[in-house]
Amino acid sequence: MEATPQEPKKKKSRISAVDVRSFGKGSNIVFNIIVFLFALSCLLPFFFVVIISLTSENALTVNGYQLWPKEWSISAYTFLAQNGAQLLRSLGVTVFITVFGTIINTTITSTYAYSISRSNFKFKRFFTIFCLITMLFAPGMVANYIVVTNLLHLNDTIWALILPMAMSPFNAIVMRTFFKRQVSDSIIEAARIDGASETRILLQIVLPLAVPGIATISLFAALGFWNDWFNALLYIQNDNLVPLQYYLMRIQSNIEMLTKNLGAGSQYASSLAAVPKEATRMAMVVISTVPIVITYPFFQKYFVKGLTIGGVKE
């Protein structure tokens, strides 16, 4: 009722807000150029790598990496299509740990956060502090390594890539604030009076309300798993369990690894020198980056929202 007369006023103030906050026309151009140049510097390296991957090996040897190569070629990609067994294997490992790990991480983190957000949980204080303590002190790489290899015996198993990142205490605390803000006690109380169980309250009432927060933490988890090379560096020796990022790391320090598993029947088997190693390496960088480049502009909305969903304090 009151909204109708207010609407034109609101619109008016928004228009003037743009004018009041913004630069004058002249400085607007100058600052646009500055921001544009920096933004371009963030995008350019990716396209540069794409271009390198599409350069012929011959041009790479003669002219080095060029922004506009003398000779284009897709030989790197055809090479990978024919001999990319290890790449496919690593891609499989990465996709598996990303999907599976994200589900585990999101489930553990949000159920924990939900419990400590509920005012009628008797031990909420204990579990909150239990979680907060983990942020004050870092146990350190050596201690973690000893526990994972010697106590849990996860060395050279797929679990070594999943379990160390199966929960994030920081996200649990952020989500706790989010749950408290987003889901009012009265809704939960009403459901309880109607006889809903706690599990049902979580699944049917709280979850739909918490979608933005859960989307954000699963996003971070997925990125963490996709980009992980550190746990592989520590715990994985078996070629079959090497994730994409770690595979890239290995061929960075030793490009010859690319030709390690070439089958005898391959057309490159007779002349290893013909393998477009430089371009292939960059093509693999492109392949492991493209999923992020394509998807992140879409989940940016959630991501930016997630940044502001809740401080550590209430």
């Binding site: 913004s22 540069f48 031990f123 870092a138 205490p169 992980d228 980056t289 304090k313």
Partner: protein
Amino acid sequence: MSVNQGAATGESRETQQLEKLAQQKRPNKFVKMLRNNGTFILFCLPGALWMIFFFYIPVFANVVAFKEFHFSPNGFIDSLITSPWVGWKNFEFLFKSNDAWLITRNTVLYNVGFITLNLIISVFFAIVMSMLRNGRLTKLYQTWMLLPYFLSWVIISYFVYAFLSPDKGLINSMIVATGGKRINWYIEPMYWPYILLFIGTWKGIGYNSILYFATVMGIDPTYFEAAEVDGANKWQQIKHITLPSLIPLMTLMTILAVGRIFSADFGLFYNVPMQSGSLYNVTQVFDTYVFKGLKATGDLGMSSAASLFQSTVGFVVLMVSNAVVRHIDPESALF
């Protein structure tokens, strides 16, 4: 009549049941507690277990810094018990070597650089982007600027290599084209402090500036209107309205960063310089040093001593910086 009877017996049965329930409940507090909190405890259990195995046990496993540790095939407890105590010996070795000073200096100085650059540049971009006239363009810039934040250090190190490769890199080609001499980037330590500071800051600017940007956009526009009416120019508006409203977030981000001043981003210092030996003096930080001891040289004693030293000093720094902030402005403190 029969209906009435049925109702009566039903009622009495109900009261009987209630009494029975009450009798069961009263003596057993535990069952009642479990009934009210069981689901929550169940929800907390996986997370709590994870923290026990990936935080609490590792914290205590730090005693290896005081032991000459060997891995026992009989498992964790056996390894801990059978490794002999050596007291502070590991620490003595660490501090007698030049490494301790070198890695502390590098870690702290790089972090001071990151904190300063990050603060200035992110706030600059946040304010500038909030003042650009075209909102859609601003959003596009932000999307571009976020890309490096989402990529792993492995990928970033390939990006850097595309520019700095000694024989194929773009920068050397440009130097040669203008008549200069090739620079062998990966063995020249003098450039690396700048390269690492640049790359480390560049990767995070998109993220940090969006954080500040959200706060700037949240400022009530009437402040700016009033300032405009009073004749304040843009710079005065920034100085007296925008910056003061950013101070709480700037403080929070800075304490968080200062609390982590003894930890370095392992990927940046390990992957980007491609573990080049001649760069160790300028690229060695706590995390890379600990890793080297753990995986490459197998010097677990020194490595665990460095690790515990790092964690302890980091903890103290976090506590002190939080206490200082709480003293100045309790609202901005972490806890």
